[in-house]
Each structure stands twice: as structure tokens, then as C-alpha cells.
Symmetry: C2
Subunit: 324 residues, 2 copies
């Protein structure tokens, strides 16, 4: 099956989306943002062996490939519009391509995000998606807006994807139900697109958590020239696999995964305490759990504290070294 | 050297370009197209071993990686605005990265095209660029506009890149000066960006020649529901390495490379005979050689003819089979 037949068969669709003037099938796609809108753009490259296991379910991989990009749009408060897909494949295998396209396009449809162009080539399995969203000019959520005194929030759960990764790597075992739930978090993350848009005009800063809370929050702190403290009790509660009666892993391991497990695709964001009710309303209206886990402070650096505000020793996780 | 340091060191720049509201360093870049403009988008994935040799000069590779994308913008008549770069690298080697960035950014600067975002990861060498340009709404050059009676044009030269490829593969030898010139065409193609913009409102269709004239023209013919004839004498003259006194390769080989050599990154376009003077003016004002090599016809299919209009047998090249 040749390149063009491949594209036609699995990926060509009539773009009848707002904002797309011309889709797949010419040298370029044409996007037509509404007047007053800026176009948010993000790109991610996923490689077999590095970002996913060779035997991952292709439908789930299709979902995740777009989800990690939509998560970047969410962190800017942008509304998804369109995406391009550049795909390198060892061979044109219908048994792989059909479910990959199904998973990818199902998530795209859910967010009204049109596939407008792409490139396919033969080579090691690699997936490069560039995603476009629109956001009213001047209203994008940035990393640079956190202010001392702001609350620090995180959406959803953290650390569960890492638990699944460790089980898949064979480094530990857990009960099948715990693993299944954690695996869903690793393989089919939920980009917080609705929450991101609801936070426009409300959050002072936001970032997408892909590398881990500590590392990614570090970008916000540096770009905002502030520091932060995180309440360890609130952080531990973000690990959903730890919510059952039986402990899955010791507290220190759980905390390390929450702080630096990676692959969470949640949002971390900041907002003034005066907006707590509005944040709760945004969480409720978008059906997205949100937890307040700390505060932004004038002193640079990142600190862990207990419920009484006393300093807690940080675990040895990647990312903390930037602050020492 | 970590990912963030890498980005900072070689690729971060302050975007002071029109149309770019926010560049590298947040979850998304923000583009702000002018009112009345559509955004042209194209993406290409280049892989070591498939699109370039492992030992290619990294500065030239940087140039080519962006050039092939700018060529897509040119084919739409769009003005370059910005691009994203997703890069997979076996290791963070400064001796490779510095010249790669130099070649990439020199061409970007030449076209006022800002690097606004990206992703870097460890893996086999792969380069995925997505490029953005702007074009007045409704004025983009498409593949679907060719009409029977139109002239068929090609910019620059064809087939020289293929000659260089064959020499590099060791399948033939030519004089050093001939090889050097052909190698420049293969490794540092010139995207016809100014010509593409000059053709707006003038050409009825246009396409970027990456796979080869026959294959790429086939997209125009199918999408325009027309056929074409190509004058073999005019086509042969497109092979610049064949212009010297000594024959480099036999005529049939030369013709095969012109028709299907690939990697040319020239424009093929169509325009009514009434616009011949305007096409010449566009060629002159942009300093881009343009040759009239045939005509669009109502009868579907692609035919080769001699200077007297008599049918010529097509060589056995890829792409022609679509028409038989």
C-alpha cells in the first residue's frame, strides 16, 4: 500500500470544522482563525521504545498521541481547532493502522479537532503531531503569571501513570484492578481541555504536567520569578491508586511518583485565594477534579511542608536538583 | 546536556517577527495572523537513512529540513511566518547541533520565519518541522485549479538532485564540478518562496515537486480533472548538469530523472496562455528561472510529445503507471 493510498484510506476526512478552510490533500492546509483570535501551536514527537512500548495497543497509542498535544493546548486555555500528523512506520500494516487511526480520530472528534495534513514515511515507528487551537488575543494562560500569595492547584491525579509504567517494566506487581486503572491513566490520559478554557481570566499561570510536577512546576516558578511550597498531605492524596484501604507502595515512593513520576498530562495552575469559589465552579462545570496543594511564595525555590506548615525533607527525585 | 539546556543553547531566540505573539518557552506558541489572512500549514518528517545520509553535513541538513517545508508554503503562495521543530537525536552532540542550528536558522532568517516551539527527545535521528505561512483569504494556490488550455511551467532545474544521489550511492561517477553543483541541488535546495507569492492571482494551480514531476503533477491533474502533455525537449533542458558540452548521462536516463528523479523542490504550476508576459515578469522580478514545458488538456492522462507535438514513448519511471 503506497503513501497516498494509506492517507486516503485511514486519515482523509472532509473537514467541516470551523476554522479549517482546506484540509488534507494539498501542499498546505489552510486555517482561518476567527477575528480577534490567536492561534496556539504545540508539537510533540513520540518514539517507540522511548515514549511507548512496542506492544502497546495501537488504538490507545492513537489516543495518547493526540492527547499529549491537546494537553498543551489545555495549558494555554486554547480551544482545539486542528492538527497535522507526521507518521513514520516500519510497514503499512492495516491491522495496526486501522485501530491507531480509530483511537486518534475518536479523541479528535470529541474535541472538534480536524486532521488537516500530514506526512507518512517508512522508518522506525515515530509519531509527530502538531496541534492548533484558538484563544482570544491576550487571554492565553502562560507560565509567567504566578504571583506570591497565589494558591497552587493540580487537576486529576498524579503518579498513577508511573505506577503502571513500573508494573509494565516488571519492577513491581500490584492487584489487577489497581494496575488496570493505573494503566488507563498511562495509556489513555485525559487532556484537560475544558478546564483549561474555564481557567481563562481566572488562573494566573498554568502548565501541562508531562515530565512530572516538580520539573514542570519549576518552569512556572522560574518564568514567574517566584517560589512555592507544596503540602505533602495534599500531594499524597493525588495518587489515586493509594486511595484504597490497602497500601500499594510506601508513602515515600508514592510521594516521589506524585512529584516526579511523569506522564500525568494534568494541569498545574495558580490563582489568587480570592478566586477559590470560581476555581471550584470551574472544576464543577467541567467535571474535572481539582486539588489545592500549596502556595506560591516570593522566596525562590520549592519547599515541601506538612499540614502544619513545617518543612519536610524532599525525596530524591529528578527535578529537585534544579532548586538546590 | 539536558533537553531544556539544549533548546536554550541552540534554538531559543527572541521572536520579534510579525505574526508571532509568543515564541519558544511555554506550552504553546501563539501566532497572530493579520486580519483577512489564512494560515497555511505543512508538516514534513525527515529520517536518517531514508531522507538523508548519516554523514551529511549537519549545516546543510539544517537548511534542507526547513527548505522542504518552505517549498510547501511556496506552492500555496504563502508568506512564511513561523515553524516548530521536533527533533529526535541519538545524543546531544554539540559538534552536530551547532552547525545544524546554524543552517536551519540562516534559512529561517532569510525568510523571516521564526522558530516558535519544539520538542526534543533521545532516539534515532529524526526531524519533524511544521511550518506556518500567511496568505490572503481565498488567494492560496491549489492543486485543483488547472484548466484545459493552460500552459504548464516548472521553476529552476529538475533531475540534478537525483544525479547527486546516484553518485553518493556509488552507482556512477561524474566530473567533480558537475557533482558539486548537483550535490548543492540535493543538499541545499532553494524553496521558491518569492515566486510562489508572485504567482498569486496568476497561476491557476501549483504544486511543490518533491517526489518527482510525473508523480506530483499527477496530483494536480487528478484534483483538477484534466490531463497534460509535456514537451520532451523542454523537459530535457531542465536538467542543468546536461547543459555542458559533454553528455553526463544518456538522454533516456536524463529524461527519467527529470520526470521522476525526486528531491527537486521546484514548483510546477499552470496559467492561461494570456498570462505568459505576467509569468515572465514574475520570474524576472523574483530572480527565479521558469520554463514552459507543456500544456494542460481536457483528455485525462499524461503524454510526452516532441517539438512537433508527436507522441513520444514515456520512459519506465515511477509515477507513469498511475496513468496507464
Amino acid at each position: 500500500m503506497g503513501e497516498f493510498e494509506l492517507i486516503d484510506r485511514f486519515f482523509r476526512r472532509t473537514p467541516e470544522c470551523r476554522g479549517v478552510a482546506l484540509g488534507v490533500g494539498d501542499d498546505c492546509a489552510l486555517l482561518a482563525p476567527q477575528p480577534g483570535m490567536q492561534l496556539a501551536v504545540s508539537t510533540d514527537l513520540l518514539l517507540e521504545g522511548r515514549h511507548f512500548f512496542p506492544d502497546v495497543d495501537p488504538q490507545r497509542l492513537g489516543h495518547k498521541s493526540l492527547a499529549v498535544n491537546l494537553s498543551d493546548l489545555a495549558a494555554c486555555g486554547a480551544r482545539p481547532l486542528a492538527f497535522t500528523l507526521a507518521l513514520s512506520l516500519p510497514h503499512a500494516d492495516e491491522g495496526w493502522l486501522a485501530p491507531f487511526a480509530r483511537g486518534l480520530l475518536a479523541l479528535a472528534d470529541e474535541h472538534g479537532c480536524a486532521l488537516v495534513g500530514g506526512d507518512t514515511t517508512r522508518g522506525p515507528l515515530a509519531i509527530c503531531i502538531t496541534v492548533f487551537g484558538e484563544v482570544p488575543a491576550g487571554q492565553a494562560l502562560l507560565r509567567s503569571g504566578a504571583r506570591a500569595g497565589d494558591d497552587l492547584y493540580v487537576s486529576g491525579t498524579l503518579g498513577d501513570a508511573r505506577l503502571a509504567l513500573e508494573v509494565l517494566r516488571g519492577s513491581m506487581q500490584v492487584a489487577p484492578a489497581v494496575f488496570a486503572a493505573a494503566r488507563d491513566r498511562l495509556e489513555t490520559p485525559t487532556p484537560r481541555v475544558a478546564l483549561g478554557q474555564a481557567l481563562r481570566g481566572l488562573a494566573t499561570s498554568a502548565i501541562d504536567l508531562s515530565d512530572g510536577l516538580v520539573g514542570d512546576l519549576g518552569h512556572v516558578l522560574r518564568q514567574s520569578a517566584v517560589g512555592a511550597s507544596i503540602d505533602v498531605t495534599a500531594a499524597l492524596a493525588l495518587f489515586s491508586a493509594g486511595r484504597g484501604p490497602a497500601k500499594v507502595v510506601p508513602d515515600d515512593q508514592q510521594l516521589a511518583w506524585v512529584l516526579a513520576g511523569g506522564d500525568d498530562y494534568e494541569l498545574a495552575f495558580t490563582a489568587p485565594p480570592s478566586r477559590r469559589a470560581d476555581i471550584e465552579a470551574a472544576s464543577a462545570s467541567t467535571g474535572t477534579p481539582v486539588a489545592r496543594i500549596g502556595s506560591i511564595e516570593a522566596a525562590p525555590g520549592l519547599r515541601l511542608v506538612d499540614a502544619q506548615g513545617r518543612a519536610v525533607q524532599a525525596p530524591a527525585v529528578e527535578g529537585f536538583d534544579h532548586f538546590r
